[in-house]
């Protein structure tokens, strides 16, 4: 009799425990100019000291309201944007301030899929040219094999090889998002930032793209930072989730614990405001009072204080620290002990 083969629990190759990526205290401020002399009059605090790590093969979700800094975080982590301060370690090496030349090998390993499938592809390049460019630049395969490799890539993302001579505008939204994925995969990356890869797509096409990402994760052992404002998608797709509010990481927890163990009032509000796909489970949606504060002039204490149902006096002048709980959960809230 054959013994059942032990199945890897979540995804393969997350064995040795060294995180693939460590982010320490990442800060990103954008200067805001104004006045007659166009001087810097202040800063948008887009990301405010965020720390986390990702293991190989893991998928981490990032969720939060529009403008809370999700895209900025994703771009800083792969150094598509310089950060104001903080540290980024990739496989233990500090890449925060590597020169352009020294950064080159990492550029290949880290890729991004952009939020908008309509504007992120160069409209003047055919699919073939689009993919060839990156493959040649990073010497992914010998020149003689490039054509075969492109066909293989296109098939991997579920398109027909005859699309090679087409331009981006000849594709539907879902197909364009597949091209964006093909372009990211072309250089054989290890780590991908997927910035709202399905938000612009129809529900039925969302499922196709999510399935594709899931297959690729299994096949290539990819590690993903998956940005989305849709909690249902995050829950379905990710292992852990980072909840951001106004540039701050307010909670981190495992997706399978999200419904039962979320502690931060903002995370609970997000869960409560998320409409359930079931007419027999109607419930009053959680409605928060107050408005989203501005990242231009963030409050001194807890950023959520203006809308938080559990707010206390202390919250208004003191920023709660991010504290560790069980199972790697971390929460920043004075009301949680």
């Amino acid at each position: 009799m054959t013994q059942p083969v032990a199945q890897p629990l979540l995804t393969p190759d997350r064995t040795d425990g060294t995180p693939l990526l460590v982010v320490e205290n990442l800060v990103k401020h954008f200067p805001v100019r104004g006045g007659v002399f166009n001087r810097v009059v202040g800063h948008v605090h887009a990301v405010n000291g965020v720390s986390f790590s990702i293991n190989r093969g893991e998928t981490i979700g990032v969720v939060g309201e529009s403008g809370c800094g999700k895209s900025t975080l994703g771009k800083c982590v792969i150094r598509l944007q310089p950060c104001t301060s903080g540290k980024i370690l990739y496989e233990g090496a500090d890449i925060t301030s590597l020169s352009h030349a020294d950064m080159m090998p990492y550029r290949r390993k880290m890729q991004i899929i952009f939020q908008d499938p309509y504007s992120s592809l160069n409209p003047r390049l055919t699919v073939n040219a689009l993919l060839r460019e990156a493959i040649k630049f990073h010497h992914i395969v010998p020149t003689s094999e490039i054509n075969d490799y492109i066909v293989h890539l296109i098939e991997t993302v579920g398109l027909r090889p005859d699309v090679r001579s087409k331009f981006p505008h000849e594709f539907s939204g879902g197909q364009r998002q597949r091209l964006g994925i093909a372009r990211a995969l072309a250089v054989k990356p290890e780590f991908i930032v997927a910035d709202e890869p399905v938000s612009a797509l129809d529900v039925s096409i969302q499922a196709q793209v999510l399935n594709l990402l899931m297959d690729l994760k299994d096949k290539f052992g990819l590690t993903l930072l998956f940005v989305s404002h849709d909690l249902k998608v995050i829950e379905h797709f990710c292992d852990r989730v980072l909840v951001m509010y106004l540039g701050n990481l307010v909670e981190e927890l495992r997706c399978d614990k999200l419904h039962d163990e979320a502690l931060h009032p903002y995370t609970t509000a997000l869960l409560g405001a998320n409409p359930i796909n079931d007419p027999d489970q109607r419930r009053p949606l959680v409605v928060l009072e107050g408005d989203v504060p501005s990242p231009f002039n963030p409050p001194i204490g807890c950023a959520f204080a203006g809308r938080c149902p559990k707010v206390m006096e202390r919250c208004r002048h003191e920023m709660p620290p991010l504290e560790s709980k069980h199972h790697g959960q971390r929460v920043a809230c004075w009301a949680v002990d």
Binding site: L231, K232, E235, P275, P279, D280
Partner: protein
Amino acid sequence: MNAPTNSTAAPVLSVRNLTTSFRTDMGIVTAIDGVSFDLAAGETLGIVGESGCGKTVTSKSIMRLLPEHLTIYGPDSEVLFEGSDLMKANERTMRRVRGDKIAMIFQEPMTSLNPVFRIGWQLEEALKYHTDLNRSERRERAIEMLRLVEIPNPEHRVREYPHQLSGGMRQRVMIAIALCCEPSILIADEPTTALDVTIQAQILDLMASLKKKLNTAIMLITHDLGVIAQVCDRVLVMYAGRVIEDASVHDIFYRPQHPYTQALLESIPRSGGKERGKRLPTIEGMVPSLHELPSGCRFSERCRYCEDRCVQEEPDLLRAEDGRRVRCHFPLSTDRTAAARGET
């Protein structure tokens, strides 16, 4: 074509055989074809379907807001409202209907609010046009309306400009303007799509309480099936310009009869991450182009139950005894749906 009648209330709006075509460079395309349905007072009707299936064209046809010179309505299209057919109404009547009787809110509030005028002024203009209140009464009513849509500090807010408000507040101002004259119908085309879930919750909550207070009938267009499940009474599913199913929200979610409705529901991740990491069922292929519609059932190329008859002849939208309607030669039985969902 019979539309289901709501036994409790006479419909405030009856759409019959609404067919809308456009003149384009590639000839005439028919965007919606024979759309019929009723809307009862106080009812919230959801309209869902993939991008391009005709949801916006349906609502703009009802309001006659499409460019007249490019638009051709079918000869037997009727939009029956308060005893008359809006399809035959002149522009003057239509202008009174819009805003006074049937109000519409769109997805992007920033493009519908005028950026150079104060919020209060915009509300007062709407009141001036649709009511005979005097100036100070209008000012008072404007503040009252902002309070109704739960804008904090309305006395102060009337003096602000649109850019000084958050996205959620702007959308609430739009709703306030739409509701100025207590319309009997509110058409909301993706009113929360551009907003975050916490703000979306505010808007949905607001629409629910207005419906209670004013008995407004609501037509809610959204691609978010969670929103449909939480707020709608009945759902119209559209596909490639056709109504393909019309049933109560419970039946749509638990006993869909059209294969497209079934497939659409399967493709959304379950709430609570119940099937975390599993592949989602998908609908392969694409919506047919309006220029080359299949001769039979418009869903046939993607339907997993497609048979010869489906390719040859387009099914009619048939109405069952319980009032449900479905356009399919082989509507799904309850058992089949349950089996496909894996919940026998």
